[in-house]
Structures are given as C-alpha cells and as structure tokens.
Symmetry: C2
Subunit: 189 residues, 2 copies
DNA sequence: TTTTGTACCGAACAAACAGTTCTGTAACGA
DNA sequence: TCGTTACAGAACTGTTTGTTCGGTACAAAA
C-alpha cells in the first residue's frame, strides 16, 4: 500500500475519532472531517464512499483486533500461564478494553456509544457461540439456543456499557464476576 | 386544541411513521415528510423545531400510553380478573405490543428499531424499579442494584427485539416464560 | 536518474437540504 | 358575525453533499 494512502487514511480516521468524541455522528459534516484531517475533498471521497462507510471501516479497525485476539484464545475456560485462575474470554476482552488502544474507550463512552456497542455486539455473537453453544452448554435448557446467544451477547455489551457509565471504577475481575453471576445460572441450568 | 392543529400534527406523524418503515431515519428529509403529509414547509416548523424533536414527540406518543397503562397496574405480581394465573407486568406489555396500536410494531421491526428500543428501555427502567427494586427483591444479591435494574431492562428490550426478529411466532405467554427463566434466577437469588 | 503511474490538492460546480420570512387565504372558536 | 390563528405558497440565505477537471508532488520501477 502506498505510504501516501496510509497517511491520509490515518489522518481521516484520527480526525473522525476526535470529532466523534466531541459531537453526535449525525451532525458531523464531511467538511469538518477533511478540514481537521487536512486533506482535500476529492481525497476523502477517493477513500470512502460516504460518511457511513467511513464509520464502518473505523469500526472494523477498532474491533477487529480485539475480537480476533479473543478468537485466538483456547475455547471455553482455560488456564492462565501466570496463575492458577480458571478464567473466561470475557475477562480477556475487558482487560483489552481497559488498555484502551486506539481511543476505543473514548468512543464507547461518547454520545455515539450506541453505534459502537451495536457493532461490538454483532462481533460478539460468534465468540459466544464458541464459548458456550458449540460445547452444548446451552442445549440443556428449554429455551431456544439463539435466544440465549442473543441474551448473553446483549448482557455482556450492556455490562460493558454500565461499567463505562460508572467511570470504570471496578476492576475487570469484578465486572467479570458480575456478568457471570447474571448468566451462569442459565448456561449451567 | 384547534382541530386544524391536531389534523396536521397527525398527518405529519403518519407520514413520518410511514417513511420510518421504509428508510433509515438519517436519510429522511423534511421535504419528504411535508410532501407526504401534504402540509406546508412553514407549518412543519411551526409544529416541530427540528426532525429530532419530531422523533421525540412521536416516541412519547407511542410509548406514553403503553407504559402509563403498565404503571397503572398493581405493583409486583397480581391476579388477573379473567383467570387464576399469577402474572407479571411484562406479559401485560407484550400483549399491548401484540395489539399493535399506532403501528408501533412496524417501527420496532424497521431498520430504525434501535432508536425506538432505546426509548423503550429508558421508559422501562422506572417500571422495573417498581416491579423489583422497590420491593427489595434485588437488594439480597451481592451485585449493585442499578446494575441489576439495567440488566433486567436491557434483557426485556432485547427479548422483545428477538421476538420481533422471529416474526412473533411465539405467544406473549411463551415470551414471558423465556424472559422470566432468564432473570428469575437473579431476582430470587 | 529517468520514467511512468497515481495520490493528492484546489477550485469550481450542481443539486439537495435546512430553516426563515413574507403575504394572502381559510378555517376556527366565541 | 367577528376577531383570531393556523395554514399555504413562494422566495430566499446559507450549508452540505458528491462530482469534475487541470495541475502538482510523490512513489515505485526502469
């Protein structure tokens, strides 16, 4: 990839991210983005078809890493090398969020958080399937499996949202405990 | 209230609702609304400051009735006059939705459903507080009370969303059963 | 270094949109 | 019947979007 392309693409992403932290997505104009990114109008439309596609590409860049990393973990419960705790993929995700690479927390805490939480949730379902459904942990219940997968994904995303609304006063371990307390009665039913 | 006012207000609401069922909120213009409602440009701005306020007013009209009706019910579990079943406010809400006054289902099933589901959830929290929190049913848990209220509200809204995505194949009674199965282990903890 | 390609800029452009202001008309309530 | 007021219609300003074009600067291959 041409170095010039990556440079302008990053400039646009950065300007867009800064604006998203300031105001609502709907009232951000392309003009503002290119002014702050210091790129020409033509250049913007050469990179992104519309503002919506810019958002989509940004989301993929943001959540791609986190979810890919979590997908690379051993399925189900596993053993941490540094200790003896039996842990879940959820704790791993929360720790990733806490590290706050690429200002993801700013976006998840902004007035645009619904956009990103929705994207987060859609990426999460696949993960939930591997964590629970594929192991048959949900089939013992009388409830439909996709209802439970949806319930667990939503609950995790809402837990993250609640954590952020509390200014992240709790540790990832505590939040994991809250979340598991709320869903474990179902998956082990 | 002047009959002319109510007439144009209803015409705008109806046109807006129809458009929301067709396309995304962001790409609906005021011009489209007033064309379909057959009202003048001036008239629209005399009634609604912006498109956002129109949406807000529509939401209040849609969910105001439903939640008010539910708020009027006896708190907690109660006895249906027509039968002997012990029931919850949730079943009542689902039955209200199924009746589909004012095309609320069309909007909740449209591509704009996030907007309405979010509004629904915010109206729901107060109801949850009355149903559970005020009776101390959540204080026995080790988890923060507002975390649980948020979790229950979110879960109910997501349950409704799932129900709609299934084209409402299940009865309100079945959905209530699903939902209670998922949250009762927590509130009775 | 020279050459070839291409990413970028700047300006200008048309079309659509938001929101306001004006005048005249028609419907309302009392 | 009479004063009030909601409405239509049109015009207007300023903004936004998305596109087009000629010229410049940078990149990678010769």
């Amino acid at each position: 990839m041409d170095r010039r392309q990556k440079k302008t693409r990053d400039a646009i992403f950065q300007a867009f991210t800064a604006l998203l932290a300031e105001k609502h997505y709907n009232q951000i104009s392309v003009q503002e983005i290119i002014d702050r990114a210091n790129v020409g109008r033509t250049t913007f439309y050469a990179h992104f078809e519309t503002k919506d596609y810019l958002l989509k590409d940004l989301c993929e860049e943001l959540f791609g890493h986190i979810v890919d990393a979590a997908m690379g973990l051993p399925h189900g419960h596993y053993h941490y090398s540094c200790g003896s705790e039996t842990d879940s993929v959820f704790l791993h995700l929360l720790r990733h969020l806490q590290k706050n690479d690429s200002n993801i927390l700013e976006l998840l805490s902004s007035q645009n958080n619904e956009i990103f939480l929705r994207y987060f949730k859609s990426n999460l379902k696949e993960l939930i399937m591997r964590q629970y459904a594929d192991k048959g942990m949900l089939s013992t219940s009388k409830l439909p499996e996709d209802y439970l997968v949806n319930h667990i994904s939503s609950s995790f995303v809402e837990t993250v949202n609640w954590w952020l609304s509390q200014k992240m006063q709790q540790t990832p371990e505590e939040i994991t405990e809250y979340f598991l307390a709320v869903i474990e009665p179902i998956v082990n039913g």
